[in-house]
């Protein structure tokens, strides 16, 4: 009995109702373990996804668009005019980046950057009776291989095939599979401008990003310009950076300098990154719900103990225990269940994560992957531990307060 008195009493109370105590311990442990497992799964998935984006997409893309519609001449003449002219159509800008060559030349001067021009557009891919709508991206292969990982993603053919074949095209794996197209097959590409090209499949790629694999196709810049009937036009400049964290500032700088809408990878993926926020909210609410259930368990045990121990509380108070001494006993009980439950949950969570790491299966969602990508972080343990302890202390507080307010005379009178 060298432990503090309140702690000793609390420990005896719990060890004498083992089944209930174990049940509430399990509640806390499961909450904590699930948090660790789900968090490492979600964050692993999210990080993996971001890594794939960073890996396969350009870090900064300059588009032939403006963030705000260009000012109309009338606005320039009367900058503060009160009268509004309706029915004004913005002057039709010739689509394409004007001065693209100068922009590229300027960017190539900067250290840590690789720059590749593209012309992106839509087309219909016709193969036998099958028509599929695809994105056609005209590239300069020698520059492209420095900026995206298209070359590495090829599961058949070579990037050089674009140069060697007369009319070469590279398809995403999904595009090829849906239409039943294989290597060296001849496909017909029809553009909205009405240009028709017979092209030979010289490569098939798999990026792992489902949207990309199902819709993107690549051809030489020149062919794309012919197809879109836009000779010499470049409508995208893609940039790869050594330091991806600099993407947003660089995008802002480029946009300020050249006026064209310039998006960082974060902006381009903002819808997916937004989904991640929702995912995290769902995760926290799920785990929160588990912990609330665990709380009920703790509340239940401690309320039962308080009820069963009314006589003890009466005698302790009559012999001179203060309200706070009594309250402390029952808060200790919550803390004990909480801290032991948290430690058990840590162990269980660790085990779960290891188990999930050993699983191998194929899945396809935003990304195609084998098994789960797990992110292991001490932060998950800290957060789940804090949540478990807070929840169990809170659950103990209410019955503890009730116990401390019992009047000894009522108990002694009633029991005697």
């Amino acid at each position: 009995m060298a432990t503090p008195l309140g702690l000793a009493i609390a420990a005896r109370h719990l060890s004498h109702r083992r089944r209930q105590t174990v049940t509430s311990l399990l509640g806390v442990a499961l909450g904590v373990a699930f948090f660790i497992a789900i968090a490492s799964m979600m964050q692993g998935f999210q990080q993996d996804f971001v890594n794939r984006i960073i890996d396969s997409s350009p870090h900064v893309t300059i588009k032939d668009e403006f963030r705000t519609p260009p000012r109309q001449p009338v606005e320039n003449v009367y900058p503060d005019a009160v009268i509004q002219l309706r029915g004004l159509k913005p002057r039709d800008e010739v689509r394409g980046l004007r001065g693209a060559r100068a922009i590229i030349a300027a960017l190539e001067q900067l250290p840590g950057l690789k720059v590749a021009p593209t012309l992106a557009g839509n087309a219909l891919l016709r193969y036998g009776p099958k028509d599929s709508s695809v994105n056609v991206i005209g590239i300069v292969p020698d520059k492209e291989r420095l900026v995206t990982k298209l070359e590495k993603d090829l599961i058949a053919g070579k990037l050089e095939g674009l140069y060697t074949a007369a009319n070469g095209i590279i398809l995403g794996e999904g595009v090829a599979q849906k239409a039943g197209i294989g290597m060296d097959d001849l496909v017909t590409v029809v553009s909205p401008e009405g240009v028709v090209l017979r092209m030979k499949v010289v490569g098939i790629f798999r990026s792992g990003l489902t949207v990309t694999d199902n819709f993107d196709t690549y051809m030489l810049m020149k062919k794309a310009q012919v197809l879109q009937n836009r000779p010499n036009v470049i409508n995208r400049v893609r940039i790869r950076m050594d330091d991806v964290e600099q993407a947003q500032p660089l995008a802002r700088k480029i946009e300020a300098r050249f006026g064209y809408r310039t998006e960082s990878w974060q902006e381009q993926s903002s819808n997916v990154l937004g989904i991640f926020v929702i995912q995290n909210v769902i995760m926290y609410s799920t785990v929160g719900a588990i912990l609330i259930v665990a709380c009920f368990g703790i509340f239940n045990v401690i309320s039962t103990v308080v009820f069963e121990k009314t006589k003890d509380i009466g005698i302790l108070k009559s012999m001179g225990f203060r309200d706070a001494d009594i309250r402390r006993i029952f808060v200790y009980e919550g803390l004990m269940v909480g801290s032991i439950g948290v430690v058990m949950g840590w162990a269980l969570g660790f085990g779960l994560v290891e188990f999930m790491g050993s699983l191998h299966f194929k899945m396809e969602g935003f990304v195609r992957a084998e098994g789960l990508v797990l992110y292991k972080s001490a932060k998950h343990y800290v957060i789940s531990g804090a949540m478990g302890l807070t929840a169990s202390t809170f659950a103990a507080w209410l019955p503890a307060r009730r116990a401390s307010r019992l009047k000894p005379v009522d108990i002694v009178r009633g029991a005697a």
Binding site: H16, M319, V412, A416
Partner: protein, 227 residues
Amino acid sequence: MTPAIPILEARRLTRELPGPVPVTLVRDIDLTVAAGEFVAITGPSGSGKSSLLYLLGLLDTPSSGDVLVDGLPTVGIPDNPLADLRLSRFGFVFQFHFLLPEFSARDNVEIPMRRLGLLGTGEIRDRAEFLLETLGLAEHAHKLPEQMSGGQRQRVAVARALANDPAIILADEPTGNLDTKSAENVFSLFRQLASDQGRAVVVVTHDTELAARADRRIHLVDGRIVP
């Protein structure tokens, strides 16, 4: 010999339970108990003996009147100092032993001392063992309450009441659940606590034979002292 300040004193002590039909538990009790005095409270069942004892032990608050401990009034003392006063000055023994069932006899006796915190761990253990030995329980120190007989439990409860060396011992029918022999033992013990150790002892009892051995008897009927 100058009369000493009475150690425990009740002045016009009245306790009513409020309600649509108020119940009077005790009314206008005047009582003084000096150190070394053994007072027995007798009376029929429901006459307010327990209620009076709870008031004297500062477990209940009077509706009017006051309880003086060491000559100082206690009405109006906040809960915490009142609890401290009970801890250091009072020892309670109830009809039911009220031992903590998860703790051994010795642990139960140690609890008030550990709460008071004046003695070190070793001294507390020694004193607990000494008290149990005095009460003839040396070989039962490690037993849980459920492993002991009624008489043994009640003696553990007495040892616990004595743990902090209180000046005032209050006992509510401490022999009510005991066989004649155990009752006799416990009663002699109270007798000694008053005569030999100079404590003020107030014992509620049904047993007129035992009550006859007190220094003074107070008879209650319907919450009032009758001569």
